[in-house]
């Protein structure tokens, strides 16, 4: 029985695998979303098989129940007693053994499938994942970092080496059928391989990555986009990603880098004045937007202790005070967020020291200073300036690759196969 199930299952999986082929996306159905990894067909097959077994058993149970209830319904109050069997060993053994055999079959199917999910192939491409409340950071072998999207190469196994900086998180990509918790104090792994290539030029072409282990206030918002690029596009992307801040001209920094960096801040800090887990960068409490509150010194702060309220930023910023300048205050608030807390907010924000360099901080401060030039969702209003800046970036890239001619790239970033 079990063997039969297993061999039948292998047959169908191999069929699925061949039909799925290079296109590599199984369409969404009533139960499952699109399957976009090479592991998805096997999971879906197990799911569907259990589905059909369940449909049969459920229908059987309900039909028998309803039929008995109609057939043997008591009319009036009198008990029409009819002696019937109260015990039947053959029947009882039968209905114990059959479910047991079916369940053993299902167990083996799940178990072998799980070993596939669990064991990454040897030649996998490693990406380091760091989770913290409430953002993701993906670090590539060439040092490139990404926080607003996870981009992976198509057609090769990708292994995520994951850790958490604070509480439990869990990385879940529904379309890939993979999930793994991130546990503080230890590394966990997850692997997948996808051939479902996304178009790098189409921002609406992506898949979702969710956090599925409850991690606090903005748990629901801790999700980013996943994109699968072909080798060429992936190589270009990782290269650009590694030096993207340097490729932007200084005057373009705040509106080119700002929105990209802000994607990590948006889970807690809005631009439209509504407070989230953290204070909005937009106007709040009649005191203007963040930059106005800081430069005017009107923002209310708690001095790092909730009990020590009633003070404003003016008490801390200025010559001879805790922070010499407004920029110092912002920079320190990103590196050591608990030092001075805005009134009404707890010490929730993790430090970004080591993750955001001076140039990134400059970009963010620039964005705060020119908040009126941005839409509420963090995009820059003036598309023409963006286009001009993009042209300058291309020029800088060209110049940079000229300069680096002859320098060997790190092995990891080269396309293997």
């Amino acid at each position: 029985m079990t063997g039969l199930l297993l061999s039948g299952f292998d047959l169908v999986t191999s069929l699925l695998a061949t039909t799925a082929g290079a296109g590599a996306v199984t369409p969404a159905n009533f139960w499952m979303p699109e399957g976009a990894s090479i592991q998805a067909p096997r999971v879906d097959f197990a799911f569907d098989l259990i589905n059909w077994i369940n449909y049969v058993f459920f229908a059987l149970i309900v039909i028998v129940m309803v039929w008995f209830c109609i057939r043997y319904r008591q009319r009036g109050k009198n008990v029409e007693f009819a002696p019937g069997p109260i015990h039947n060993t053959t029947l009882e053994v039968t209905w114990t053994v059959i479910p047991t055999l079916i369940l053993i079959g299902i167990f083996f199917m799940g178990f072998t499938g799980y070993l596939d999910l669990y064991t990454p192939p040897k030649n996998s491409y490693d990406i380091k994942v760091t989770a913290q409340q409430w953002s993701w950071e993906f670090e590539y072998p060439n040092g490139a970092k990404s926080t607003d999207e996870l981009v992976v190469p198509a057609g090769r196994p990708v292994r995520l080496v994951m850790r958490s900086k604070d509480v439990l998180h869990s990385l879940f990509i529904p379309d890939f059928r993979v999930k793994q918790d991130l546990v503080p104090g230890r590394y966990t792994y997850l692997w997948f391989e996808s051939n479902a290539i996304n178009d790098p030029d189409d921002p609406s072409d992506f898949r979702w990555l969710f956090c599925t282990e409850y991690c606090g206030k903005s748990h629901w918002n801790m999700n980013v986009q996943v994109k699968v690029f072909d080798d060429e596009a992936f190589e270009t992307w990782t290269k650009d990603q590694a030096r993207w801040l340097d490729m932007i001209d200084d005057q373009d920094l705040y509106f080119m880098a700002g929105p990209k960096l802000y994607a990590r801040c948006v889970t807690c800090h809005s631009l439209d004045g509504s407070d989230g887990s953290g204070p909005s960068w937009g106007p709040r409490g009649g005191l203007g937007d963040l930059w106005a509150r800081v430069t005017n010194g009107t923002g209310k702060v708690d001095g790092g202790r909730k009990s020590d309220g009633g003070k404003t930023l003016a008490d801390y910023i200025g010559n001879g005070k805790l922070y010499g300048t407004a920029e110092d205050y912002i920079r320190n608030s990103i590196y050591d967020p608990g030092a001075l807390l805005v009134s009404g907010f707890g010490n929730q924000m993790p430090t970004f020291e080591g993750q955001l360099n001076d140039r990134a901080i400059d970009a963010l401060i620039g964005m705060m200073q020119h908040l009126d030039e941005f839409n509420a969702d963090g995009t820059f209003k003036d598309q023409e300036r963006v286009n001009a800046a993009l042209a300058r970036i291309e020029a800088n890239k060209a110049a940079a690759s000229q300069a680096s001619m002859g320098v060997t790239e790190p092995a990891e970033t080269e396309t293997s196969d």
Binding site: F58, F68, Y72, Q74, P85, F107, G110, F210, E213, K217
Partner: protein, 574 residues
């Protein structure tokens, strides 16, 4: 005006009042005043007080659920902030698990019914029983205190390190509250085990006990063995929160996953603390209302104990994606499947009991049939989650939410409501309106399925649980689910109204309104203070051949002339 303790014809239930003519007393009016209730040693009064507490908690927990569902009716903010939302789903879970479902059947119905079923005057240790109830009240007060001190947003699972780091003020009070509730549960279980062991009447061997008692007994074993582990675990979490050091904290070299092991070592058996008594109730309800000897008595009895034992060995199936080793995952998956078999056996036995019965579709029976329907879905969907590679996809999504609501609410709680309707006439001596009862059931049943079946689709499509907001493609499911929850709320509201109404205006209940054979149907409704003046005679509690409808009593009577003494009252089959 006739009072509730008007004497009834004594011989209706084979237990004549002393002297044959004196009025039968009534536990409800035995003594008067609030203190006579709060410090009563009468298991029936304690049961009724538990019942009140559980139902009030159920109302509160249900309102929290409606808040959560209403927030989710459309994407974006509907009416509360994310942190408020997180607090409400946490409160909903904690209240429903610790204050409603765990005490619902054992502590309220069990307390009332168990000694009467045994023909006993009370449980073995009445003072300890009262103490359990007081502990329960204190535990409940701490939960309220937790709310007043700022609430808590840890999820009912209290996963570390979030629970030791979050800055909400209610975490320590609620941990302490659950700790105390745990003791209440342990003492109740202890009391029941001793009662079943030492107080069975002559003639009631283990295998002639009503199946509800088997279920309560198996449950009590879990209560005394698993609950202490939860108690010490929560204490360690509390200390860890206070001193910022502990074995669950990775900063010092501790291990957050260890907490999950400990937590589920209790909380998985706790699922069976919830579902086993409900299964016991259903076994008895099906037999009584179809007036048919339960099919495969010993298989059902053994499967209760088997489930109780297996329940200690499957906790790891909550942790397939937690980072525990593949070997452990495999072992836990295998044992998990083995627990499915005794559950399936029970369902088949219930169906076989219906065969050739004389099925009266009273409200309790409707709940019992509803239970079979919902429990089948809950059990079958458990198969997906026990299957390792499928669980990886489904874990921590709405699929899990739907699955455990089918088991914990659709089964455990529906079993409780069914049992409540079954024993309500016995508890309060009044009949509720049968038509209203059936309408209430239909509303609850439809509302439940609309609410939670949609969540299976949501989950398999990839919607994670405990999310304040969601992607637009999930909107239609959430909308349907929320509408379902309103239908269900309407059903429960109606149920509350007709039950309360029956207390004042309901027709007087006969001693035996359904045609039951176990001992609780042999004393008056409501039972006298001492339950039985004379130790009742024990027959086969599933032999319905002697049950007759009596127009005069407006209830069923046992036709003594037909009673056989042997337990093989019905044909012993093929």
């Amino acid at each position: 005006m006739t009072t509730i303790d008007t004497p009834r014809a004594g011989d209706i239930a084979g237990n004549p009042p002393v002297g044959g003519t004196g009025p039968v007393d009534n536990y409800l009016t035995w003594t008067k005043g609030a203190l006579s209730w709060i410090f009563t040693l009468d298991h029936k009064r304690i049961g009724v007080m538990y019942l009140t507490g559980v139902l009030v908690s159920f109302l509160v927990g249900g309102l929290f659920a409606l808040i959560v569902r209403t927030e989710l009716i459309a994407p974006g903010k509907t009416f509360i902030e994310p942190e408020t939302y997180n607090m409400f789903f946490t409160l909903h879970g904690a209240v429903m698990v610790f204050l409603v479902i765990i005490p619902s059947i054992p502590a309220s119905l069990g307390n009332f019914v168990l000694p009467v079923m045994l023909g006993a005057k009370d449980v073995a240790f009445p003072r300890l029983n009262l103490f359990s109830f007081h502990l329960w009240m204190i535990g409940a007060l701490f939960t309220v205190l937790a709310l007043l001190l700022g609430g808590f947003d840890t999820g009912w699972t209290f996963y570390t390190p979030y629970s030791t780091k979050t800055d909400m003020g209610g975490v320590v009070p609620v941990l302490f509250g659950v700790f105390i509730l745990g003791f209440s549960s342990i003492f109740t279980g202890l009391n029941f085990i001793v009662t079943v062991h030492k107080m069975r009447p002559p003639g009631m061997t283990w295998f002639r006990m009503p199946l509800f008692l088997w279920a309560i007994y198996a449950t009590a074993l879990i209560q005394i063995l698993a609950t202490p582990v939860l108690a010490i675990t929560l204490m360690l979490v509390g200390l860890e929160r206070a001193f910022q050091i502990g074995i669950f904290d990775a900063a010092m070299g501790g291990d957050p996953v260890l907490f999950q092991h400990f937590f589920w070592f209790y909380s998985h058996p706790a699922v069976y603390i919830m579902i086993l008594p409900a299964m016991g109730i259903i076994s008895d309800l099906i037999a009584v209302h179809s007036h048919r000897h339960i099919f495969g008595y010993s298989f059902i009895a053994y499967s209760s104990v088997a489930i109780a034992i297996f329940s200690f060995l499957v906790w790891g199936h909550h942790m397939f994606t937690s980072g525990q080793s593949a070997l452990l995952n495999t072992i836990f998956s295998a044992i998990t499947f083995s627990v499915a078999v005794p559950s399936a056996i029970k369902v088949f036995n219930w169906l076989a009991t219906l065969y050739k019965g004389s099925i009266a579709l009273n409200t309790p029976m409707l709940y019992a049939l509803g239970f079979i329907f919902l429990f089948t879905i809950g059990g079958l969907t458990g198969i997906y989650l026990g299957t390792l590679n499928v669980d990886v996809h489904l874990h921590d999504t709405y699929f899990v939410v739907a699955h455990f609501h089918y088991v914990m609410m659709g089964s455990a709680l529906i079993g409780f409501i069914g049992g409540l309707h079954h024993w309500w006439p016995k508890m309060f001596g009044r009949m509720y309106n049968e038509t209203a009862g059936r309408i209430g059931f239909v509303l609850v049943f439809i509302g439940f399925n609309v609410t939670f079946f949609t969540q299976f689709m949501l989950g398999s499509q990839g919607m994670p649980r405990r999310y304040y907001d969601y992607k637009p493609e999930f909107e239609i499911y959430h909308l349907i689910s929320t509408i379902g929850s309103y239908i269900m709320a309407a059903g429960f509201f109606l149920t509350a109204i007709y039950l309360l109404h029956s207390l004042f205006r309901g027709a007087r209940a006969p001693a035996n309104p359904w045609g039951g054979r176990s001992l609780e149907w042999q004393c008056t409704s409501p039972p006298p203070h001492d339950n039985f003046k004379v130790t009742p005679s024990v027959g086969d509690c599933y032999d319905f051949s002697v049950v007759r409808w009596s127009e005069e009593e407006h209830g069923y009577v046992i036709d003594r002339s037909k009673e056989t003494d042997s337990s093989s009252g019905e044909g012993s089959g093929h």
